[in-house]
Amino acid sequence: MDSMLGFIASLALATLLLVGLGVPIIKRLTLAMEGHFEFSGDSLTKRSRLAGFLYFTAWALVSVLAWSFFADWFFTGSLEYALTLLALKAEIVIRILAELGSD
């Protein structure tokens, strides 16, 4: 089945990419968490700690969207439908972030 092969190849590629991307991000998160518990409230290290948490959040968000896209694709069997849903979800997320950012 042609589309099944495409599905599996895309899923494998995305898994590799997301897990690989997670390695440096989890490294930074670990340093940020250790710093969070051990450093006194210094403004300079605070910024890099915050960046550690932010990168992880962004990675988690992108991951969830990507996995839900593959789930949609798998359950409906339609790449087009899954892409439409992905665009919709991305738009919702961006709108929520913009709302948070404006406050």
Binding site: T15, L18, V19, G20, G22, V23, I25, I26, K27, T30, M33, E34, E38, F39, S40, D42, S43, L44, T45, A60, S63, V64, L65, A66, W67, S68, F69, F70, A71, D72, F75, T76, L85, K89, S102
Partner: protein, 373 residues
């Protein structure tokens, strides 16, 4: 502040003689011979005494009032040189890699920089420098610093297994690092804008009103590293420092230890403290403006009652090797807090990433089903 009297580049024998003369002149300042056997006494961390390296005889550090360690000196008077303070001559090893200037100990044969671990190729020079007014004595012995290091290593997340056994730590260097502390009362006048949001949804926008005002505040003991070398990172990373335990500077406290020289001047140090104060002052201005959003268009700060202290803080420093890589570790010599570079296990990191990805995948599928329904 420090005036380097570099020994000129003389060839061979002359140069060695010059060096020897410097060392002879300076080595006896730091040496306290044992009253019973004549060997060197070393300061014993955690106790106000020195212990003989040979016969274990104990000699108490003279009990001096610690008031001098806590005196705040007038910043401007000092800059105008009205304030005469005692100076000493020290011989220093200057590291060309990290910029540290460490007191040279003729008995210390290692020529690697205790801070950056590089081989020091620069030379010994004599410098005139101000005597620090106070220091925080070492409270931890070398073996206690080692224990703190092992605890710290074993509690690292996602680190290689057996990290404590595998890491071969060098000997620990006990070093007093230079610090300036500054006090100041600030008055800041500012011009800015207060924003408040009106409307809702798509029509929400911010309306700005011009405001101006004055905020005052005071800073107590803003710490700045007296050195631009690696040791600058210790001030924050190893803090907080129990500065209420400062003792008046006495060379007895340094017996067996070394001190890094102040290479950042008093005014230069204040400029760094000022950057820290500016961040705080900006917060004060924002609070003073109020509203939901603030803009600061201009501000100017004047300082009053500027004072400073000139002190030394104790740090144990070591380097360890793991998988052919070198890592630097430091331990607060008073509190035992550890700060350092740490290794990660690639395998564990990958596992953690895969595990987290698994969780995200479950959430993703749940999201897909929730939307599909």
């Amino acid at each position: 502040m420090t005036e380097a009297l570099k020994i000129p580049k003389l060839p061979g024998k002359k140069r060695r003689e010059a060096k020897q003369a410097v060392q002879d002149a300076l080595s006896d300042q730091r040496h306290f011979p044992c009253p019973s056997c004549g060997a060197d006494l070393r300061f014993h961390p955690g106790e106000a005494q020195m212990v003989c390296t040979h016969c274990e005889a104990r000699v108490p550090v003279p009990d001096v009032d610690d008031a001098a360690a806590h005196i705040e000196h007038d910043f401007h008077k000092f800059l105008k040189d009205d304030l005469k303070r005692p100076e000493i001559e020290v011989s220093a090893l200057n590291c060309s890699t990290c910029g540290a200037s460490v007191e040279f100990d003729p008995d210390e044969h290692s020529r690697t920089c205790p801070f950056c671990d590089s081989v020091i190729v620069a030379d010994v020079s004599t410098q005139r420098k101000l005597v620090p007014q106070g220091l925080l004595p070492f409270g931890l012995m070398e073996k206690e610093a080692q224990a703190a290091l092992r605890d710290w290593l074993s509690s690292r997340w996602l680190a290689p297994n057996d990290i404590e056994e595998e890491s071969k730590a060098d000997k620990f260097n006990g070093i007093y690092v230079p610090i300036w502390t500054y006090d100041s009362t600030t008055t800041t006048s500012y011009k800015g804008q207060r924003g408040r949001s009106v409307g809702s949804g798509k029509n929400r926008r911010t309306v700005w009103t011009n405001v101006s005002g004055t905020v005052t505040g005071s800073f107590d003991d803003v710490m700045v590293s007296g050195s631009a070398s690696v040791s600058a990172e210790f001030k924050d990373a190893l803090g907080p420092w129990p500065t209420h335990k400062l003792e008046t500077y006495q060379t007895e406290f340094l017996a067996g230890f070394r001190a890094e020289n102040h290479t950042v001047g008093l005014a230069e140090g204040f400029a760094q403290a000022d950057r820290f104060m500016k961040v705080k002052i900006t917060d004060w201005i924002r609070a003073d403006i109020g509203g939901s959003r603030q803009r600061i268009l201009s501000s100017s700060t004047s300082h009053a009652n500027q004072t400073f202290k000139h002190i030394l803080l104790p740090v144990w420093i070591t380097h360890y090797s793991l998988d052919k890589k070198r890592y630097r570790l430091s331990v607060n010599g008073a509190t035992g807090k550890v700060y350092g570079q740490r290794p990660f296990s690639m395998l564990k990191l990958f596992g953690a990433s895969a595990g987290a990805s698994g969780v995200m995948a479950v959430l993703g599928v749940m999201l897909s089903r929730a939307m599909g329904a």
